[in-house]
Amino acid sequence: MSGAHATDSHAGHDHGHGHSHDHGHGHELPFWRKYIFSVDHKVIGVQYTITSLLFLLFGFALMWVMRFQLAYPGQPIPIIGKMLGASLVDSSGILIGNGYNAFGAMHGTIMVFLGIVPLAVGGFGNYVLPLQIGAPDMAFPRLNMASYWVYLPGGLIMLASFFTRDGAAQSGWTSYPPLSVVNIGGQTWWLIGMVFLITSSLLGSVNFIVTTVQLRVKGLSFFRLPFFVWAQLVTSFLLLLAFPPLEAAAVMQLMDRVAGTSFFMPGGLIVTDVVQNQYSGGGSPVLWQHLFWFLAHPEVYVLILPGLGIIAEVIANNTRKPLWGYKALVHSAIFLGFMSFIVWAHHMFMTGMGTTLSTFFQFTTMVISVPSVIILTCFIISLWGASIRYTVPMLFALSFLPMFAIGGLTGLPLGLTASDIHLHDTYYVIGHFHYVVAPGTIFAMFAGIYYWFPKVTGRKMSDLLGKIHWFFSFIFINGVFMPMFFQGMAGILRRQYDQSYQLHGASAQGLSMMASWSAWCLGLAQIPFIINFFYSAFAGKKVGKNPWEATTLEWSAPSPPPHGNFDAVPVVQCGPYEYSVPGRKSDYLPQNIAMEA
């Protein structure tokens, strides 16, 4: 069926292309085949996008409740307090310690595994990548469909854990044993959910790699690929190689919880005064940490790389000149991907690591900062000599740059063991990684949504609502995370249900009020976006193939593209960012010869 069709090389293809593809059926697909169990990468991309945006909103909502407890410790949660279950609040509607920890663990898990990765890779990668290489679909469309339909149950299983008697998993998104093995709550569901989610990513990553290698159209050599495709390719390698150890570890922890094994359980444990004789022991909690972080460090590059890819596209398009240092960008992305596999133990400096190992990991951590600096520098230098259009995607892309800089720079004191002694497990860490994912990746995601929305729907989003969304998001997101660096310096630790308990951080606790109010206002600032997104999909201004006057191949397909994507198979004549080429009337030269004006 479609699998066979998609792997035919285009070179020898002589079917007529002036009609939409039916893949041999000769009749229209029923609704449930076209929109629910679809093998079309565009439908799957939209499914991933909507699902992940809903998960992101839910994960954000968990934090609104947590931030209320942080700003007003011991007060009943307004409006919904009494509605939450006994695993979360007491009888007056005050969040309890278990509830706080459950929200915390699930916030991290949902944002990383159910929100950002499915959006960045499953949403944007799926939709845009085949279009950008001129392919009619992914190499394995059914595998693609499978990866979505394994992701969704995995996410729902995790959410279902909130409704069990003891509530959701509450041992951090990092799930360190022995706590995660002995703790009450839905850790078992979390582990099962992780197996589903990881499987989904593995299926997807194989697809992306094969598609990129095999299905590029004529003329599209590797060094003519848009940087977005390179970013997705490196990301897919990271997913493919890094996730399996965590899937294995998740199964091992599951066995420790339900089958009495001791993979991570040492002997002699006494939990709440009860000797844990059911474990033979001999297991190592540190083993889990190694297996977890072996994935979770490359995972953070999975979180940022697609965002960098989107930023590259938006910057090139809105500066009207080629990206500066394309080769440096590509080599840096590849080097970054490789290095990301040998830095993981910088998350474990405080576990009792000796100097030999910690020296190695400190060193690799310093080295990995170099390609990040190169990538950021290339983007900033791309602005020189430009003609900058301040479109909504560009506003998000530009504001990404200093935000990513703050996130990246604050990684330095954390990556050096000596300074990490003071800063480990404090709010400084929370500030650091949130700067990279929140005003970093999430802003890149918004840039991508505003940028590719016209291609997906055939309609533009409202510029006014977009600018309002950007402006208030930018202000309030800084209001949430900037105070955290000061709190971390003062020694305020993370995962604290009540920060006022520890006096050494007292001076900086007032900042929690500022962070909480900023978080609630940030939530309100998303309303213009939500309205814009749904309203414009049905009633936005209609556009043609290339409203942004962009060069890459997706803009030579109709908006929205039909099944099979292109009216005529594209042929590539040049690099991806030929803007303002001297001697030409128009200020851009499309990659697809057929689109040339």
């Binding site: 309890i96 939990v271 709440t272 020296t359 310096m489 050494h504």
Partner: protein
């Protein structure tokens, strides 16, 4: 019980006060890094804002196809790499190696303390003057014997155990062996720049020395320096109280014992005190940190993780021996009474 408001004024707004011999180098590294980070950020930032304005799209302006020549950016890149290498090899690795690779020798007479961490408290086990820890076994654990000490072991006679109450001498190396009974905890003493995970199944040693300055200050100009990276200065002194009354020749009190703020509410007031101490002929004064020093848990360990906190009290070396002898006497008297 110190109120939040008092704690704010004692702890200041940036890094907490630092009382160990190795901590100053950590603070120095943090400071140097942030200067570098700020320089890089503002450097990039100026270039960035300049581009946003100069190269905005407007009528009559178009973009240039040719790439900018990369000379300056290569220099910046190389400078960043060189700086990171310097910081790594000169400021971080040696500090970490020093902290990790140099356990106190027998000659330095370290104090060894066993720290047992469990949900949600810290237990401290002292071996007493005989230097040998009494045998422990879970079967002896009870509400009064929380570490499970076997009182029949002759070495246990001079052992002491406390929950959430830690006493340490200054100026003498301390070696802590950290145990976890149930889940991963993390021993964190922010005011000593000490942090070490406590992992079940492991016995992890750490060592540090509390600076004698935490309990003794030379009467000198340094006491009233307003800013100095880690050295004695008014900035640090103001977080202390006098350990005894200091009187001038006429018998008037210059510095009252344990009185908050007696060392002056600002550097100028501090200078006055300094002069009076000099006139009275003192060369050194004994101090105590006025803010409560805390040992907290830095790794999520359950629903009451945030409550896991011990008080840390510092003593001079002699005071510590006296305190320890007193406690051993008290313990053995209680044990006798039990029979």
């Amino acid at each position: 019980m110190m109120l939040l408001a008092d704690a704010v004024s004692h702890y200041g707004n940036w890094l907490p006060p630092q009382l160990s011999t190795h901590g100053d180098k950590i603070d120095q590294l943090i400071f140097v890094l942030h200067v570098f980070m700020a320089a890089l950020f503002f450097g990039w930032g100026v270039y960035f804002v300049y581009c946003l304005v100069k190269f905005r799209a407007r009528s009559g302006h178009s973009a240039t196809y040719e790439p900018v020549k990369g000379g300056a950016s290569k220099m910046v890149e190389i400078a960043v790499i060189v700086f990171e290498l310097i910081v790594l090899f000169a400021l971080s690795m040696p500090v970490w190696a020093d902290y990790k690779n140099k356990p106190p020798t027998e000659a330095e007479n370290p104090l060894t303390v066993h720290v047992h961490s469990k949900q949600f408290e810290w237990q401290f086990h002292y071996c007493g003057p005989d230097g040998v820890f009494g045998r422990t076994d879970p079967k002896f654990i009870s509400t009064s014997n929380f570490i499970g000490l076997d009182e029949d072991d002759p070495h246990a006679k001079d052992d002491l155990q406390f929950v959430n109450d830690c006493h340490l001498p200054t100026g003498r190396p301390i070696r802590m062996e950290i145990f976890a009974r149930d889940v991963i905890h993390s021993l964190s003493i922010p005011t000593m720049r000490v942090k070490q995970d406590a992992i079940p199944g492991m016995r992890i040693p750490i060592w540090f020395t509390i600076n004698k300055d935490a309990t003794t200050a030379k009467v000198s100009e340094q006491m009233v320096q307003t800013f100095s990276l880690g050295r004695i200065s008014w900035y640090r002194i103001r977080h202390h109280v006098a350990a005894q009354d200091y009187k001038n020749k006429a018998g008037d009190i210059i510095l009252a014992k344990d009185k908050d703020g007696a060392l002056g509410s600002n550097a100028a007031a501090g200078k006055e005190i300094l002069q009076k101490l000099r006139d009275a002929g003192f060369t050194e004064i004994s101090l105590r940190p006025s803010n409560p020093l805390e040992i907290v848990c830095a790794q999520l360990c359950g629903n009451n993780h945030y409550t896991m906190k011990a008080q840390l009290k510092t003593h001079t070396a002699d005071e510590f021996e006296a305190w320890q002898a007193e406690e051993i006497k008290k313990k053995n008297t209680e044990l006798e009474i039990e029979f």
